[in-house]
């Protein structure tokens, strides 16, 4: 179960009000490669993992992504909270303001709302972990682009923290993948629906050898 610790994982802050920057940063809150997508993806994939290391890693990293989501929300909240209506109009946030005022909402940089289509939980552990590694790389790239867009040093150091975390998570998922390979290389009995080895065997007429895929 989850509890809440009344503390950010990193002292995130902003130097100055900047709603235009907030419009870009919010993509890491409710966008396709954002922290919400990451945490829900990992926390929902962990149920069908075969080895305890994978279940632990997905749980812990998923929980940490919720903490990162909080950090991104803090950035957006602080960038927008002192903005005047003129600032908001100049930043192109009119539409967002009409629906949400200065509140947070799960959208990407263009206002497209979050959808579960951003994540997948395929059930096949190798597929899931490979998707998680790709997700970490996508988040890393997004943080790099946000670092290019940002001119606020306080926001920069926070983004740099989150960027580095993605790299560390990628390393962890890579190690989980290796553990899964090791798990599957041992002779475990497993069952795949619809897979009938006998029906798939066929003889090679020339040599009499049996070919199995």
């Amino acid at each position: 179960m989850w509890v809440y610790q009344k503390m950010l994982q990193y002292p995130a802050g902003v130097k100055a009000c900047n709603p235009k920057l907030a419009k870009s940063i919010i993509t890491q809150y409710g966008g396709p490669d954002g922290e919400l997508a990451a945490s829900l993806r990992y926390l929902t994939q962990r149920y069908t993992m075969p080895i305890p290391q994978a279940k632990a890693a997905l749980t812990d990293i998923g929980t940490e992504e919720l903490a990162h989501m909080e950090i991104v929300a803090t950035l957006v909240y602080n960038l927008v909270k002192d903005a005047s209506i003129e600032d908001i109009k100049r930043a192109g946030l009119d539409g967002y303001y009409a629906d949400h005022d200065k509140a947070l909402y799960f959208v990407n940089g263009d206002g497209v709302p979050w959808t579960a289509a951003y994540i997948q939980s395929k059930g096949d552990p190798i597929t899931d972990i490979t998707e998680d590694m790709a997700a970490e790389e996508k988040a890393r790239s997004t943080y790099e682009y946000l670092l290019q867009l940002s001119d606020d040093p306080e926001v920069d150091r926070t983004l740099r923290f989150l960027w580095q975390r993605e790299i560390v998570h990628f390393q962890r998922f890579g190690e989980v993948l290796d553990l899964l390979h090791e798990h599957y290389s041992h002779k475990h009995v497993f069952e795949m629906k619809g897979y009938d080895p006998a029906a798939l065997k066929k003889k090679d007429d020339d040599s009499g050898r049996i070919i199995t895929p």
Binding site: V3, Y4, Q5, K6, M7, L8, Q9, Y10, P11, A12, G13, Q53, A56, A57, D60, I61, E64, E70, A73, T74, Y77, N78, E154, R157, V168, H169, R172, E175, V176, L179
Partner: protein, 91 residues
């Protein structure tokens, strides 16, 4: 938020970051003995820091996992909440 509280909270953040990183490392390297020792030491220090903070400023965890303290009112709801704290600069 007064500077002493912020300083203590910052130290808790740093120590907890160490335990989080070691936690993730140990998830995939469960038999790494040296990492486990380092984790135990960092965890002990974290518990001490959190106990100090909670005794002075109220619980950090909800649902009964944080120390409620002997203050006459429910301190969990106190401001500022984490997204309202104004941090400046690095360590």
């Amino acid at each position: 938020m007064d500077p002493k509280q912020m300083e203590l909270l910052r130290r808790i953040m740093e120590t907890q970051f160490i335990t989080v990183e070691l936690n993730l490392f140990l998830d995939t390297h469960p038999s790494e003995e040296r990492a486990l020792q380092d984790f135990r030491a960092a965890s002990r220090e974290l518990h001490n820091l959190i106990a100090t903070y909670e005794a002075a400023y109220g619980p950090l965890l909800n649902f009964g996992l944080g120390e409620p303290g002997m203050a006459p009112c429910w301190q969990w709801i106190n401001d500022p909440w984490p997204w309202e704290i104004n941090w400046r600069g690095k360590c």
